[in-house]
């Protein structure tokens, strides 16, 4: 398996593990209501938010650290991926802003849990787009 394919596979595994961990934590702890009330629960979720990008950075460094592993075509792919990722994330954020504004404009405030949902959706979209480009 080529280094670039390895990186994509490991990224997918990290994304799936993170998603499963999040869903598992939410189910085990009692859902959104507990998230609002339980600081410990929120800290676990925050640790995941920081841990996932860190794990991704380590994986990228481990799979692509040897010189000569990446050739000119790989570099082109790696340069193109963030541009498409950026656009995908931008459009998803625009969608969130439009929907949340329209749904909650009467109340004048958005429930805090939507911040977590926005983060989850951004991670998922970023991962999917990155994999499809690779």
């Amino acid at each position: 398996m080529a280094p670039l394919q390895k990186r994509a596979l490991y990224s997918l595994i990290i994304g799936v593990v993170c998603a499963v961990a999040l869903i598992g934590i939410f189910i085990a702890k009692g859902g959104v209501t507990t998230f609002d009330e339980d600081l410990g629960f929120r800290l676990v979720v925050y640790a995941l938010w920081i841990g996932v990008p860190l794990a991704y950075l380590i994986v990228v460094n481990l799979t692509l650290r040897k010189p000569g592993q990446v050739d000119e075509r790989d570099r082109l792919i790696m340069e193109r991926a963030p541009r498409i990722q950026f656009l995908a994330v931008l459009f998803s954020l625009a969608a969130w802003v439009i929907v949340l504004t329209e749904v909650f404009s009467d109340q004048g405030q958005v429930p805090v849990i939507y911040l977590t949902l926005i983060m989850i959706s951004t991670l998922i979209i970023g991962t999917i787009v990155s994999l499809s480009v690779s």
Partner: protein, 60 residues
């Protein structure tokens, strides 16, 4: 051209030209246009001139 050079595998050509096997696959399928440098390296592996390996076809 690989087969005219001792049944050279894609892996072997990739190693000798300094690229990945995936790049050789993409080149053979016409899905990737190499840089001048890589094109010269591949021609060098086969011991022929650049034009004997790569030909320009104007896309319609």
């Amino acid at each position: 051209m690989r087969f005219d050079n001792g049944e050279m595998t894609q892996e072997e050509l990739a190693n000798r030209a300094g690229c990945t096997r995936q790049t050789i696959i993409a080149l053979e399928q016409g899905k990737y246009v190499p840089s001048i440098e890589l094109a010269f390296r591949i021609a060098e592996v086969f011991g022929v001139s650049l034009e004997e390996v790569f030909q320009y076809k104007e896309s319609s």
